[in-house]
Symmetry: none
Subunit: 204 residues, 4 copies
Amino acid sequence: MTARGPDDAGQAGRGGQETGRRLRADARRNRARILAAAEEVFAEKGEGASTEEVAARAGVAIGTVFRHFPTKRDLLAAIMKELRARLVDEAAALAAGADPATAFFDFFAFMVERAARVRTVLGLLAAEGMGVRTDEQIRGALENVVGELLQGAQRAGAVRPDVRLDQVMAILTATCQGAMHGAWDDDLRRRTLMIVFDGLRPRP
Amino acid sequence: MTARGPDDAGQAGRGGQETGRRLRADARRNRARILAAAEEVFAEKGEGASTEEVAARAGVAIGTVFRHFPTKRDLLAAIMKELRARLVDEAAALAAGADPATAFFDFFAFMVERAARVRTVLGLLAAEGMGVRTDEQIRGALENVVGELLQGAQRAGAVRPDVRLDQVMAILTATCQGAMHGAWDDDLRRRTLMIVFDGLRPRP
Amino acid sequence: MTARGPDDAGQAGRGGQETGRRLRADARRNRARILAAAEEVFAEKGEGASTEEVAARAGVAIGTVFRHFPTKRDLLAAIMKELRARLVDEAAALAAGADPATAFFDFFAFMVERAARVRTVLGLLAAEGMGVRTDEQIRGALENVVGELLQGAQRAGAVRPDVRLDQVMAILTATCQGAMHGAWDDDLRRRTLMIVFDGLRPRP
Amino acid sequence: MTARGPDDAGQAGRGGQETGRRLRADARRNRARILAAAEEVFAEKGEGASTEEVAARAGVAIGTVFRHFPTKRDLLAAIMKELRARLVDEAAALAAGADPATAFFDFFAFMVERAARVRTVLGLLAAEGMGVRTDEQIRGALENVVGELLQGAQRAGAVRPDVRLDQVMAILTATCQGAMHGAWDDDLRRRTLMIVFDGLRPRP
DNA sequence: AATGAATGAGTATTCATTCAT
DNA sequence: AATGAATGAATACTCATTCAT
């Protein structure tokens, strides 16, 4: 049977090999296609979607999926890892050389807008979304970026000095989830963020 | 006879609890136990939990669950209906006779605190949580209560006049989901709400 | 569990009490309604139809059905018993005082036409239809009537003298089943019977 | 990939047996074993028999049955398709090169004798047996063969010229069903067919 | 490495039957 | 006698995972 232990996916670097591993060209290509397909499928149907469907959408056989990701949980974890990494990169780019006073809010808005489209971001931010405990390294990376942006904004006087990182992460997470599940339109999202941002800004 | 529809012998009565279909005493008792068990089970393990476990926890046979809720989806829907109704009731109680300036914020905090414990509240507020589309009536009822509280608070000058109900519902929903998935502790919840509330208050 | 022995319905007079039993008026009425409903339901959906549906259509509770017919098999058996009895009666009526040369063929045609409408006649004639072994008494009664009609027709020279009763029963059964399953229209039925009848008539 | 349609890797080839979907050798072997087992099981216990028993008798796991036939109904349909195809083949063989005057009757008798053993033939001929609507192509194929045999026999003067194909199919069907359900012995079958055949022959 | 067939535990749902009201 | 709720075995079907090709 299938070991049902709760934490058996945690061994970082086991589920889905590191992208750097020397893989045959087609193997690397397949890995990417599977990941992309999985992101789509799980986004559409939720984590309950079948691995077979992922394989089908990726155009590979089911066995290939399991060769790359020995467990469904591993697949899920890999998606998040990738997603989060992508976001961190984009965030870093936003942070570099921008006006600190706006960079923070821009990134915040960017994340929320993103969440509205990428359903899977759910678990991404949540401590325990989708039954997967995203590995702490990446989670930490995101917090780092946001932390930097936050400090910059605070130094620039654009965010209240008494606000701490955990609060920001909490509100960011919450807003992303709301945007995702609630199907907010652009206008509602803008007006909602306005309130949140006002809460973060210093009292005049 | 054996009406096969979901026998929603609902405690529709605002304050009472007996208006529903005339069911035999034991039947009503079982229905309640099943609902309670289901709330627990789904809260713990998510919507993927098995109906059989619900039956076990409720101390009835599997057939009894299906007699009351012909479909798993029906069971899920019933949970939400009940949950939402309960919240609406409690909200109404809060609203009655309290200082409008604080009632709104009290209710908001109350909901979020609640969500932190009851995992199922997720779908409750989301447009489409758990694959169940909660019926519009109850959804509307919640909006009504919140709407009244909001107006009261705005008239009392405790909330910015330009804030609209959809924004409030959006932030409320988001914060509930964040609290639920994020496992915030009491302190983090308090500090997070502080920011949100500040965003809602009039600029000085 | 449910005794799965093949023959446990045979104890004549057990499944469904004899019509003569002193029953409360409403009890007798219920018995009749159930029987009628069952005939309809099983005719429409086959023997796989649920007992609950029979109860529903009869307007009684499920318990009442089982009080009258302790087993589904008993219910099925009762239907056939009744059906067969009815047919025997009608056959006898046909036979009485009619021209023996035509009575036989008339009855044959009558049965087949009947079968085309009453789906349940299936098992009625078959040795083992619907998993129920119709009790021999009634089965015998039918054979008796047909036998008499056959003899009359043979004496009148309308049927070949070398034809025996078992052959007639076999063809009658087969034709009824064909008519039932095949959904023959009136014309096809007539033309088909024409062939069968010609096979039964003396060679000129 | 995992085409979820009924993979009717049929031995469609008239005489051969390999034209179907290219399946791995073991897959084709399993498909055949399942089909054989199903024919047996359903023949013995009727269509109510469990799929699990089919799997057991075929010596495969339950999942394998459903991989080949996604639905019980598909399995039933496949059996009939195969059965009918087999009969059509054998009928064609009988028809080829035989004396038309006897070929027709030989085939008729052959079918009925067959039906007496293979319970599943029921639905095979009936318009709607077992809840499965056999596909029209095969149904048509049978009619074609019988039609040819009929014409040959009529030209040879062995069958009345006014008999039409629909009548013949009707009687053939009926007799098969009678033989199947009625458990006729060899003698009764012979004598019954004698009558039917006489009805089909020209009046002297 | 890839394929895709096989496995088999798991799950929702149905239904004959029993039994408390 | 009637009611209808409860029972629980049975059953079709799904899906993660393994393994022979």
